[in-house]
Symmetry: C2
Subunit: 370 residues, 2 copies
């Protein structure tokens, strides 16, 4: 797993379009940030789309500069000889609209006003993200995808790809996904929202980029962080250890888990835009595979290709039962579907932390595709 | 279950003592708020102590005035013919120190300064709460308890009673408890803390009672509220229903679960003191039955009486495995122990919501006590 795609450059594709969103509103012009790994073959038939999660970005593998401390977020998965083998496949990862990592989002300039959108940015759904990505493949002249693979919000995009473009998508691999965001997940996002809304620095979204609502966003991130972990993973990493710096009976004394969450939340503020965080949370909350269909069954009947689903035993955010709900409908519809419940202690984040536990099943699945 | 203890008056016992706390600090003089239901028999042998959870109080049953909209928090359990039968037992419930419901806590006046303690209040542990309660029984001339029964933080107090006063306690009934607060629970409390600390109205605990950090406390309460529920109970109550008042694509549009959490958090501000909330969160975080013992085994070896334990299938805050950890140690030590895992969808709050599911087992247990 040590081979790397090396140094990669993020590309930016600009589209002079007005994309009609699920809300009825129009969004455009659009920019999409993306990276590619491997080589497009002559008949453009070796393309894999990797879709990212909430705070992810286009930088899925390799390094952008030799000095980068860490490689892209799914570097374990993408590279020569890895499961998404760049010696065979042309792998593309694109940042979603609504984000702040190079694609058009609330922090982008609204060309009509010359100011950043902030809360005048329209609410986007996962389906809108996928429609925007489709523009990119049209531009690149690609009309066939070996697979669309992603975890969490990436799993939602993979499914939407299968529903919207059945002629183009030859398989989908949704990992740690859900058929519809649960009230628990919505409730956790509601906490995150309230934390930001309550921060006077937020100013109804009109903060200056250099003065973000740092406390609110840090707390919002900590909510997310907890929901991505599991009690077991916290036990393994922190247990009940009290911070060595603090007295146990100090009012402000912290357990290590607490110090870690605070540190992590604070560092997140430097790398993510608050309004983007909120818009993507909204997209997650609104996600329901049966959106604009009469039922989950009717929606999933549009999925023509084989699908491979993974859930993780310790994931309590998008619990295995949520993937199983979808898989059961697909089975009932006699669709080609495979499902694996992976035993992992790392909660929702297992798809990032322990890819070794499921990658052999992906290799096998991809090899069987015609 | 309709019989009521009727109108009850909260009593306040004042103790001119200096209670030595686990931290080494002294606290005193002390006031304890308490209520009693039923009649103390002539040999003072029919006493049951009910211990309350985090934001509970001494008012466990009946009404304080005929106009009260709701009875005490465990009225389903306490009354003539109920499981804690006031025709047989003399039931006492006392508000813990650190709280704001009549017992000495951070909002109380420090007699040395004439001002409220605020953050000069000492950190208290559950063991300290129990030692304070013991003063009350000494005052009342009661040296024997049929049982100590409570849920959540109440379960912790029940166990501590058994460990500290084995000659006095004839049984304990810890419900939805834990042997030691998990890193997940600590992490959730850390969110609640940060929400309060980040509210400028908190002023490091020196807010005026009439100007509390309302946003921070409301958010903190919402964190707790989520952790007391389960995904299933949220599905049953709210599903994915969007608030009828809001447009689905409004940036500030809310799902019903979200509106409920906000409403509930805001109303909590009127009935609970912020600093008390923080001190009790700290007591919960610090709770470990093996505190000041070498091991959980050594600690639990002090429990001489029969114990009856309940956990709930959908409780993810103090998950059944946490009760089971304690029960296994007691079994290994050959202690008289009974454990029931109750199938309930109501998460940690099941002990309040569905008492019917476990009360018959308590009746049976109490009847078998000599």
């Amino acid at each position: 797993m040590s081979a790397s795609v090396g140094i990669v450059t993020t590309e930016y594709a600009k589209f002079d379009v007005e994309l009609q969103l699920e809300s009825g509103r129009l969004l455009g012009p659009l920019t999409l940030a993306y990276e590619t790994y491997g080589t497009l073959n002559s008949d453009r038939s070796n393309v894999i789309l990797v879709t990212h999660a909430w705070t992810g970005d286009a930088h899925a593998a390799g390094k952008n500069t030799p000095e980068d401390r860490k490689p892209g977020w799914w570097d374990d998965m993408i590279g020569p000889g890895k499961v998404l083998d760049t010696d065979r496949y042309f792998v593309l990862c694109s940042n979603v609209i609504g984000s702040c990592k190079g694609s058009t989002g609330p922090a982008s300039l609204n060309p009509r006003t010359g100011k950043s959108y902030n809360l005048s940015f329209p609410v986007v759904m996962v389906r809108d993200m996928v429609r925007a990505q489709k523009l990119l493949f049209d531009r690149l002249g690609i009309d066939s995808l070996v697979t669309v693979i992603g975890g969490s919000m990436g799993a939602m995009q993979a499914v939407e790809w299968g529903l919207l473009y059945p002629d183009m998508v030859r398989s989908v691999i949704p990992i740690a996904g859900t058929g519809r965001t649960s009230p628990m997940a919505i409730a956790l996002n509601a906490l995150a929202r309230q934390a930001i809304f309550s921060d006077p620095m937020w100013k109804k979204g009109n903060y200056k980029p250099e003065h973000p609502p740092a406390d609110g966003l840090a707390l919002a991130r900590a909510v997310g962080h907890i929901s991505f972990l599991s009690d077991t993973s916290m036990h393994l990493k922190f247990g009940r250890r009290f911070s060595a710096r603090d007295g146990m009976f100090d009012f402000f004394g912290q357990f290590e888990i607490e110090r870690y969450l605070a540190y992590n939340g604070a560092s997140f503020v430097d790398r993510f835009d608050t309004n983007s965080f909120l818009y993507l949370a909204k997209a997650l909350d609104l996600y329901d595979v049966s959106w604009n269909f009469d039922s989950m069954e009717e929606a999933l009947d549009n999925l023509q290709c084989p699908s491979l689903w993974f859930a993780f035993t310790s994931d309590w955010l998008y619990a295995p039962s949520q993937t199983e709900e979808v898989v059961k409908v697909l089975q009932k519809l006699d669709k080609p579907v495979a499902y694996h419940l992976i035993d992992s202690d790392y909660g929702h984040d297992s798809f990032l932390v322990e890819p070794d536990k499921f990658t052999p099943l992906i290799v096998e699945f991809l090899d069987k595709l015609k």
